[in-house]
Amino acid sequence: MSRFEILRFALRGLAANKLRSFLTTLGILIGVAAVILLVAFGEGASRSIQQNIQRLGSNTLTVSASFAGGGPGGFAGGRGRGGGGPRTQARQLTLDDARALTDRAQAPSVRSVSPVVTANGTAAVYEGTSHTVSQLVGTYPSYFEATNKVVEKGSYFVNDDVVAARKVMVVGRTVADELFGAADPVGRQVTVSGVPFTVVGVLRELGSSGMQDADDVAIVPLPAVQQSLTGFGPLGSIIVQATGADTTDAAQDEVTAILDQRHGIAPGGAADYRILNQAALQETVSSTIGVFTALLGAVAAISLLVGGIGITNIMLVTVTERTREIGIRKAIGAPRSAILGQFLTEATVLSLAGGLAGVLVALAGSRLPVAGIQPVVVPSSIALALGVSVGIGLFFGGYPANRAAKLRPIQALRHE
């Protein structure tokens, strides 16, 4: 008895009860599609977040002031700096700190250092049109490279502009659209808090990332913003770009050493600044998303399992209902392997058809973005879901099929 023959019998058996076969297939379809889609959704979310992090800049460390350590009455009681004497106040980040970090000898892994002062929610006016810029950044030209900000039209400002504290400005796409509309912003004057700035460039559009519009930004030379807006106080943060992806950790160690020394922090003591390592952040987020994806996958796997139980149920019903037929087949000389083969093939065809249809549905479904996230289909999830669905068919179909095949012909024939 050939395999082809067995397949023919199995298909005929399935065709005899089309609705039932269809519903069983549907159960597996939903399970497989759910596994693939949810994993794709998790992967999409993960990539989207990674992109957002990368947008912060490549190989960068963000140093910002922290009040957790060193402050008066801080909790770091064991630091013992100067015995029980009065605590030094937590130091803010200064331009001198930033300059110290550029020391090639002490910080060979550092490529560039950009001190940053940020003014939030500053009103900019152009010929009567007003727009509140959510982020006005005062910094050095190296900031553009460190944070992957590219000027699309016009030019960057340069070190001379910083030294001369020129009132020049590079604006984000949103700011340009809000203030100038269709007009070319380059060369026009924008008034910020009564101080006129000349727009020299427009940044390439980044797109919004969640809550924040990354294009609602204006970048000016550091002294210009300090003179006109924030005053010459402490820095908001220092962006340090490492020389390469593999040197970010080394750069972090070097920055830590320099700042510890400058701020007088003993080794192991709590620092009055913190360093956000973009690579480390990315790693943390990836692992978090990984857990999230695994959770989604587990939920989907349950629906796949339920589909499998559906197959078992249907095969049990089918076998019970067709016990008499099995008896007839055995009476005219069907070997056990043929009976077993027929029912196993029926179960496998059901689960395979459901699985393949599920893959198609998932592939179609993954084209649609959900909540702004474009799902990314993971090939291994397709293989896994298909494999599991066929496995389920063989495993759960095997039990009823084996039971049917083992019957003595007369037992099966007497079954009503």
Partner: protein, 245 residues
Amino acid sequence: MSVPVLSVRDLSKVYGEGDARVHALRGVSLTVERGDYVAIMGASGSGKSTLMNILGCLDVPSSGRYLIEGTDVGSLDERRLAVLRNRKIGFVFQSFNLIPRMSALANVELPMAYGGVGAAERRARALAALERVGLADRVRHEPNELSGGQQQRVAVARALVTAPSLLLADEPTGNLDTASTRDVLEIFDELNVSGRTIVIITHEDDVAEHAKRVVRLVDGRIVDDRRQAPAEGAPPRARTPEVPA
């Protein structure tokens, strides 16, 4: 003398356990020679169906030996038993037992499919068998589109298509009207004329009259074994073949 087609020795069959034990067969011994036509008769509960199921290898005896053409059935494993049922035995049931939603042709082809006969040869032999039982014009019909007599003739075609050494029929006319009964018995007569060994179970004397030998069972024992015609030659009621009605 050649090996008998069928030979049973001291066959017994017990159903149930303890107080509920029922002795369906109490030591039956029977030998059927090639070309014979045996009717097994008995009231219901006499054990004739049990005997038939054992002869057809559908059931196993509690004790005793059963040889088909010299092969001890009790020593065969499941796989070889299936081959034996397929090649050596054709079984005709009282309730036809065709597989629903399969055409007459597919039903007749089925034993050959399990026997590993090629598709083309299978089709030719199935068509020949259906023609032999006078259903050449009904090959595409499914069982529920056929009358009882036609269904039983399909079942007979299915039983003889593998050219088995032994044709077993368990009350083949029990569910048929007089005309269909006559048709089916005529087919059996013809088959026996052409040398097929037939064992038939019945409780109707009319049917038993077609056989060359009548065995009577009472309470699981053979009480009477009467020969009506010699094992060689035509069965007593066989007629010269006519144009099928």
